[in-house]
Subunit: 296 residues, 2 copies
């Protein structure tokens, strides 16, 4: 990482405003405070009770329900379901100064970039799109952890309009929170995460739906073991957040789903034929890939 | 649990022979020895090196490559891939005494019962089919743990021919290893585990196959996170074991796969229509079921 110009006082930023202080925004707030990355962290929520909960959990220094609270911030972090991005950014415009940086935490990037261009116009140069690859199957401020981003990846998908030093400050922000930062184009990002994250989420929700709607659902859930537990962990994730991700990355997700349906059709043909050698070969190829995979 | 008649010496059994001392058989051996459930545990493997490894890991007292070593056992436990059951049981017949009990650990039950009837004839009354709901994504003696069955479920699918006191001794065996035992019919068992275990395994192997065969597989695997990790953990499981399970429970698995394909078709229709409320409703129903589920 190239050394980054720092403000005169300690901390990379003076005031950071985080819009949405649930799991993702709240965890960033907690990291910013504990690691003294920012002087002052303002958390903004439509619901005052949620903002106050984040304040009492010491995720933020100050709770607000008003985007106006962003007026003095040198960084605004959007941590809302992705389909709210355009509305929130548009409402934010009156409160942005020329030097305010903006970033986001959305799991999809092409739609967020589109939304930012519409909402911000030429000020889109101040917006550096980002996606921290971290989450939990529990939601809200109470689920936030100051360590959530430690050793996790953050993908930035910078715009042609972004200034290099601004991108570097957002890199430094996430690095200071313990994460490793890399860059991709927004379409590349959405293709990769459509396959390794969005599709598995859809598949896990679908398996739970199938078991829950079976006539013997109670017996099935009673005897489900460790395989079911891990396979479906992500089906406990926020329905609002995943509804938005599925719709935001609809095209890539449908393409991956088609590929998966073809893979299942091929598995069905193998099973039906009863060709043990072919089945074992297919399973072995996957097992070797998975055994050799480690989170990077 | 009704009190069970115990042999004069300490331990439920004098000699237990375990055929197959990998993860499942080796873990049972280790539990039998550590908890003094048996006086003497013999491990049998075709490959002497594997049997000796289990011996040096203290999973068993004695290593053998010969089924003849079962001749003095009062209990024989089959812990081999399910499609080997019939051949192993047939080869075991000359070494069975009238009082020898036999049980197994297979993940499918209708096929094992069929195999046992063919191989054992009237001696099938000595065979109490069982399935411990426990496993790891690592295999072989080195993966065995004496604690593998603690607080896990074991399902027995007793035969009409079994004597009650024999079924109770097998119950007592697993309870002594720390497990909770319940009964089902073999078809009921295969339907339940086809849905909550076999289908998720197939789906996880298929997702890894899809990602591994993509042109950008390296980038996808590099950015895959915690969701992918947990969803695909079971795709690192033994290909030989799962080939056998899929083929042994072929009919139930294909039926569950058809239901799943219909579920995906319905998810596709929702996504294509872009009906946010309907998608959120569907996701919420699964999320509630999964959030309220705990391993029993």
């Amino acid at each position: 990482m190239i050394a980054v110009a720092r403000p005169a006082r300690a901390g990379l930023f003076d005031q950071v405003a985080i819009v949405g202080v649930g799991l993702i925004g709240g965890s960033l707030g907690a990291a910013l405070r504990q690691r003294q990355i920012a002087q002052h962290v303002i958390g903004i929520e439509r619901d005052l009770a949620v903002a106050q909960q984040a304040r009492s959990l010491q995720l933020i220094d100050e709770a607000s329900t008003e985007l106006q609270a962003c007026a003095a911030a040198d960084l605004v972090v959007l941590a809302v379901p992705v389909r709210q991005s355009q509305a929130v950014l548009a409402a934010l415009v009156p409160h942005l100064r020329a030097q305010t940086l903006i970033t986001d935490t959305g799991s999809t990037k092409q739609d967020v970039v589109r939304a930012a261009r519409v909402a911000l116009g030429p000020q889109v140069r101040q917006f550096i799109p980002g996606h921290p690859i971290a989450g939990r199957e529990v939601n809200g401020p109470a689920a936030a952890l100051p360590t959530l981003y430690e050793d996790k990846r953050v993908v930035l998908t910078p715009l042609a309009e972004n200034r290099t030093q601004d991108v570097e400050r957002i890199e430094a922000l996430w690095q200071a929170a313990g994460a490793r930062v890399s860059h991709m184009s927004a379409p590349e990002h959405d293709a990769v995460f459509g396959a390794v994250s969005h599709l598995p989420h859809l598949l896990a929700y679908a398996l739970v739906a199938q078991i829950a709607s079976a006539p013997d659902a109670a017996a099935k859930l009673a005897y489900a073991g460790g395989g079911f537990r891990d396979f479906t962990r992500i089906a406990a994730s926020s329905p609002e957040m995943w509804r938005d991700i599925f719709l935001a990355n609809q095209e890539m997700l449908l393409a991956e789903l088609s590929t998966y349906e073809a893979m299942l059709a091929s598995a069905r043909a193998m099973l039906t034929s009863g060709d043990a050698a072919q089945i074992e070969h297919w399973l072995t190829q996957s097992a070797i890939v998975r055994q050799n995979w480690t989170p990077q």
